[in-house]
C-alpha cells in the first residue's frame, strides 16, 4: 500500500468538503427525486408522452453520459493529485472542464435540433418535461463549469493545488452531483419507455 493509499484510508469518517455543502447536496437530491417521480407518473399514465419521447436522439444522451462520467473521473483524480501534493491538479481540472464544455456543446446541438423541428417547451407534455429537466440540469453544469474555472486559477504555477483541501473536495462533490443527476435524467427521460405488457 502506497503513502497515498494510507492517506485515503485515513479519510474514513471524513466529510468531503464543508459539512454545510451537504445540506445543499441533499436538498438538490430531494427536489430532483420529486421531479423524477412526477415525470415517471406522467410517463406511465399519459400514452402521448412516448410519441414525443421517440423523437429524442438516445445516442446523444449516451454520449453525454460518457462525457460527464469521464469528467467526474478527471475531477476525482484532481482531488487524488492534490492529496499527494502532485503538480497534475490543474491538468485534471482542465480535462474535466473540457469534457463539461463538450457536454454543453452536445446539449446545444440537441436542443437546436428539437427547436428547429418545432418541438419547444410548449409543444407537448413530454417536451415541457424534457426542456425543464435538462434545462435545470444544464444550469447546474454551467455553475459547475464556473466553479471548475475558478479552481484552475487556484493552482500554483506548477499546476499543484494551493487552496484548502475542503474547497477542492467540495467543488468536486458538486461536479459529481451534476453527473449523478444526469445519470438519472438519461435513464428516465431518454431510456424509460411507457410500459407495455410485462
Amino acid at each position: 500500500m502506497t503513502a497515498a493509499d494510507n492517506r485515503s484510508e485515513a479519510l474514513r469518517g471524513h466529510i468531503p468538503g464543508e459539512p454545510g455543502l451537504w445540506v445543499l447536496i441533499f436538498g438538490d437530491l430531494l427536489v430532483f427525486g420529486i421531479l423524477f417521480v412526477t415525470y415517471a407518473v406522467n410517463l406511465a399514465t399519459d400514452v402521448t408522452m412516448s410519441v414525443s419521447q421517440a423523437k429524442l436522439d438516445r445516442g446523444l444522451g449516451l454520449l453525454n453520459t460518457v462525457l460527464l462520467l469521464s469528467s467526474s473521473w478527471c475531477i476525482a483524480h484532481a482531488v487524488i493529485a492534490a492529496r499527494r501534493g502532485s503538480s497534475g491538479v490543474r491538468q485534471m481540472i482542465l480535462a474535466a472542464m473540457a469534457l463539461g464544455v463538450a457536454f454543453v456543446g452536445v446539449k446545444v446541438v440537441e436542443w437546436g435540433g428539437h427547436i428547429g423541428a418545432g418541438d419547444t417547451l410548449n409543444s407537448s407534455s413530454f417536451f415541457t418535461f424534457y426542456f425543464m429537466y435538462t434545462g435545470i440540469h444544464l444550469l447546474h453544469v454551467l455553475i459547475g463549469l464556473g466553479v471548475l474555472t475558478w479552481l484552475a486559477t487556484r493552482c500554483d504555477t506548477n499546476g499543484a493545488w494551493s487552496g484548502s483541501p475542503a474547497t477542492l473536495e467540495g467543488s468536486a462533490v458538486f461536479w459529481h452531483l451534476v453527473d449523478l443527476l444526469w445519470v438519472m435524467i438519461f435513464a428516465l427521460v431518454y431510456l424509460l419507455r411507457h410500459a407495455g405488457p410485462a
Binding site: 485515503s8 427525486g33 407518473v41 483524480h77 487524488i80 459529481h176 452531483l177 438519472m184 431510456l191
Partner: protein, 86 residues
C-alpha cells in the same frame, strides 16, 4: 497508478459499460425492461455517490441519507412503473 486511482478507473469502466447495457435493454419497452432501466440508473447513481463523491468513507449519517434516497426513489419509480401503467 495508486490503488485508489485503479478503483476509480474500474468503477468508471463499469459505469460506461452499464450505460451501454441500459441503452440496449430500453429498446424492448416492456415493464421488465423499464425496471431494468430504473435499477441500472439508480445503481449508477449509487456508484457515483459512493465512489466519486466518497460517501462510502463518510460518516454514518451521510451514508444512511444517501442510501435512503436511492432506496426510496427506487421503490417509488418501480411502484409507478408497475402499478400506474395505463
Amino acid at each position: 497508478m495508486t490503488a485508489v486511482s485503479k478503483r476509480l478507473t474500474l468503477f468508471w469502466l463499469v459505469l460506461v459499460a452499464v450505460s451501454v447495457l441500459s441503452f440496449e435493454s430500453s429498446l424492448f419497452g416492456t415493464r421488465a425492461a423499464g425496471a431494468i432501466v430504473i435499477v441500472i440508473g439508480l445503481t449508477k447513481a449509487w456508484i457515483v455517490g459512493r465512489e466519486f463523491m466518497e460517501i462510502r468513507a463518510a460518516p454514518l449519517i451521510l451514508r444512511a441519507l444517501f442510501q435512503a434516497w436511492v432506496l426510496v426513489l427506487g421503490t417509488a419509480l418501480l411502484a409507478v412503473t408497475y402499478l400506474l401503467a395505463a
